[in-house]
Symmetry: C2
Subunit: 361 residues, 2 copies
DNA sequence: TTGAAAGCGCTAACAG
DNA sequence: CTGTTAGCGCTTTCAA
């Protein structure tokens, strides 16, 4: 049977001081004589005393814990986001309470309630929907500073935003320059920012090139690999299949590749592919896949710092909004579409194409 | 300015009952008249009251939170472990406090102290060292049930163990049967179980085949991709380089592949490779990589259930020990070593080789 | 069945 | 500089 945990009372008794004085030493209060301070510190060591954070929270009215609610954190990039958050928080002696919503509204609601009960001091999150009333209300009810990740929001909260629109515009332009015309964009439902922005970027690129996108090639439903897989299968089974696919979601690439492989198609000879998140697979696969990427570790650090800033500083400063760029990394997964290649091999003349600037290697 | 959070006092007042009665309703105590119960429930709804978990913890002496300390959780497989843990815990209304140690002793110590302060009710962890006195003492000091993940330990705690030894034995046998003789094993320091077991399995296989392993091909230092990269580079630069490489760590495969690619070698023609953890890269790469794998989601669920069992049941039952098998998944990354192939192409006779049974496809 | 009151471990305000 | 004390929000005796 575990003997009772040692409390500040025990420390006080052993150091032969009052409880209040022991507390003062613990909290680094100036007004304690050196001699007594030493005595107390001694007692703390001897007893291996560890302050009860629960009692401290109770008394101080804060928990020194922050919640982190994401769709999931199984994806390496999100995990690296979590790690960055954690590293910053650790330095400030905050604990991290993890909450994976699996993108389900009901679960989000439950988790928000649980976090509320725990009286977290702050919250970093991305929600399944941006408009849902209940969700918004639950978040409000927490009455704590919030940092939103890649969701568009009322102007009142801090947020980290990824510039998907410019990223996708760049990717699509690149494909257009390779003479692709039937470019499919697979991404999540447009009621969240990343998907909506990607669709805008897609249209931007076509418009900029003075073209109209083929209808029906923008598929917005889910960010999952599963959706990428099924949709790719469907698209590639069409009469006039797309010649290029953009996997618009950080988990989607494996699904798309699986489908392409299942169809027995080669990348990039038969179909070009651009991912929307870097990974070992994209980097070391054969061929390596060109991707749009941004640094989640940087995002994580920024998110945590934004939150700490509010927690420790001015809770009423105007909200910050940090936007990060998506970088197009060209690797080996894109080539001119097969019909063009054929024409070329046939020796037909072609107008020169210039690679748009701003595309990095 | 956030108006004060509503407490059980407010609920009691509004329902015109005593605080104690309100509490009873909250806790589903039988002895409350239906009428009053309704009134209180009504008040709870009206006020959107959320019990203060901090105060509850204080009073009850438990926190309904468990700590999860891993080397890191950036790896997809570990993240899926975390997710499984979380899913089980959520059902039991426990929160998860995440702690990534980055495999650093000092950080582990700090995190353990922080978790102790928070009065977590239980802990799931893997430590950087199995023998370290301070670590052991800190863990003891927590005085809570512990589930250890893939570490060998005093017989007193619950543990989940992966049978690396049998797994590696199987993998090495497979390679020996392909006529490999110079088989390198890259893994972490032998002072933790997975590495130690892998080395044993490696020796087992050679012994079983009546052979002696070439010296200097067991490289035990670190589980990182970085180590895999550097060591592979070194090994492949030798006079007599290994013809097969086993990446003995869940993060190591990308490093090994990177090095192989950098050397301009082909898999499996020039060198055979076996990974020790499944991944998108292993599954969808070209060629797909043969791996030893086990199910981390199952492990996570088991870990959480083991812990809950203790938390909610008999805290003094004898410790459980769950061992999971590693399955060898044969894909396309292994072939006979180049010299053998050459000999073969030359038409030389060869003794028949039988594929050892127990190797799954 | 209900109310009153003690006390979990701690911090901070107040007195000395 | 130090000791005493109230009270954070809640659960749980103990009485009624």
């Amino acid at each position: 049977m575990p003997r009772d945990r040692v409390t500040i009372q025990h420390v006080a008794k052993r150091a032969k001081v009052s409880l209040g004085t022991a507390s003062r030493v613990l909290n680094g209060n100036k007004s304690v004589s050196p001699e007594i301070r030493t005595r107390v510190e001694r007692a703390i060591m001897d007893l291996d005393y560890r302050p009860n954070a629960v009692a401290q929270s109770m008394r101080r009215g804060n928990s020194r814990a922050v919640g982190l609610m994401l769709r999931e954190f199984t994806l390496p990039v999100l995990a690296s986001f979590v790690r960055a958050v954690q590293n910053v928080l650790r330095g400030a002696e905050y604990s991290l309470i993890l909450a994976g919503s699996e993108d389900q509204r009901q679960r989000e609601l439950e988790l928000l309630a649980a976090l509320s009960s725990r009286r977290i001091d702050g919250l970093i999150l991305t929600t399944s929907s941006e408009a849902d009333e209940d969700l918004l209300r639950s978040r409000e009810a927490l009455q704590v500073p919030v940092v939103l990740l890649d969701r568009s929001v009322p102007a009142s909260v801090d947020a980290l935003l990824i510039d998907h629109r410019a990223g996708i515009r760049q990717a699509v332009s690149y494909l257009l320059n390779l003479d692709h015309r039937r470019i499919a964009l697979l991404t999540g439902s447009e009621n969240v920012r990343p998907a909506a922005e990607r669709v805008l970027g897609y249209r931007d690129a076509f418009e900029e090139a003075g073209m109209k996108p083929a209808p029906d090639l923008i598929r917005t439903e889910s960010f999952t690999a599963e959706f990428g897989y099924k949709e790719t299968l469907t698209l590639l089974g069409r009469q006039a299949p797309p010649t290029a696919l953009i996997a618009g979601g950080i988990a989607m690439l494996p699904g798309v590749l699986r489908a392409v492989r299942q169809k027995g198609l080669r990348v990039p000879e038969d179909v070009s592919i651009i991912g929307t998140c870097d990974s070992d697979l994209a980097e070391l696969g054969t061929p390596p896949i060109s991707v749009l990427r941004w640094d989640y570790a940087v995002l994580g650090r920024a998110a945590a710092e934004l939150l700490l800033d509010r927690l420790q500083g001015d809770r009423h400063r105007p909200p910050h909004r940090i936007e990060v760029e998506a970088e197009l990394v060209i690797r080996g997964s894109c080539a001119p579409p097969p019909d063009v290649s054929r024409r070329r091999r046939g020796g037909q003349e072609r107008t020169t194409r210039k690679l748009r600037s701003g595309v990095s290697a």
